[in-house]
Amino acid sequence: MGRVSPALTAAGVRDWLQRFATAVDTHASDLTDLDRPIGDSDHGVNLQRGMHAVLAALDAAEPATPGAALVKAGSTLVSTVGGASGPLLGTLLRRTGKALGDAESADGPAFAAALRAGLDAVVALGGAHVGDATLVDALAPAVEALEAGGSAQEAADAAARGAASTDELVARKGRASYLGERGIGQRDPGAASIALLIAALTEDAS
């Protein structure tokens, strides 16, 4: 499986997000099912709509750097999704992109550091931490795996384990928190989406 290093380019970001959009298409009904008991059953379809808009925006703007591509993608998600996943996922991509700056490409350590900046921005925005049954439970372990020099596959595995861990957690943020202990046994839809996003890193290295 591919590593994020040596060089994530603007085209690489486009390929990554294309694979993520395809995964969202494939899993839209699963994501919506996860959203049904605790939300308004629109997570999958909202994210689908957002990612189709992201790909169209990237094709129209043709950003020259991975940073610019991620900022464009994140801004598009913020304006098109309409639910919490818009600002949260949008902020993740935008801040990751801003952290990459004007670099033509990002190697593994640079990408890990940028994704850390994105994670920090999401935590600042939503106020959730690991253990609150949110997307942070999938994202934080993935960032840690990349920071430790792990491959994209190792990051994807860490994200998947993190998403699975939300099954047994009591949600403390967002609408799912209204359910309290009745939410146990339910995977957080945002964490499931992040696991797909990180898994989509795996097939591309350049």
Partner: protein, 129 residues
């Protein structure tokens, strides 16, 4: 400097209805409803919020933003974080309907942003039972 009150809701009907209700009590204040997504779904539209806030700043006003639920808070924080002149804009921590009425009535007296925010946030402590 007058204060514009922007009401961000997941629902266009809710935003408009609360704007009507609050505006009826204080017709001189500027109240801007921002509800639903650009394609008419339930949800919050970051671009529309940015436009509503930007129009107020362009007009030389201060802007108080009230929001309804969960992701409206995240949308508002995200949009406000991108603004250059954040001192003239405040996200109000208040219940949507009660806070909107308090904000609009206070704004109609010519009070500044800090006073509008303070009065709206007092609405949090209104007991109903």
């Amino acid at each position: 400097m007058s204060v514009r009150v922007v009401l961000l809701s997941h629902s266009a009907d809710v935003a408009r209805g609360v704007a009507d209700l609050a505006g009826q009590m204080a017709s001189t204040a500027t109240v801007v409803p921002v509800g639903g997504t650009a394609d008419g779904r339930l949800g919050t539209d970051a671009d529309a919020l940015e436009a509503a806030v930007g129009a107020g700043l362009d007009a030389g006003e201060e802007v108080a933003v009230l929001v309804d639920l969960g992701s409206a808070v995240l949308t508002a924080r995200t949009v406000l974080a991108d603004l250059p002149d954040v001192a003239a804009v405040a996200l109000v921590d208040a219940p949507f309907v009660e806070g909107a009425v308090a904000a609009v009535v206070t704004a109609s007296t010519g009070a500044g942003l800090a006073e509008v925010v303070a009065q709206a946030e007092l609405a949090r402590d209104l007991r109903k039972g």
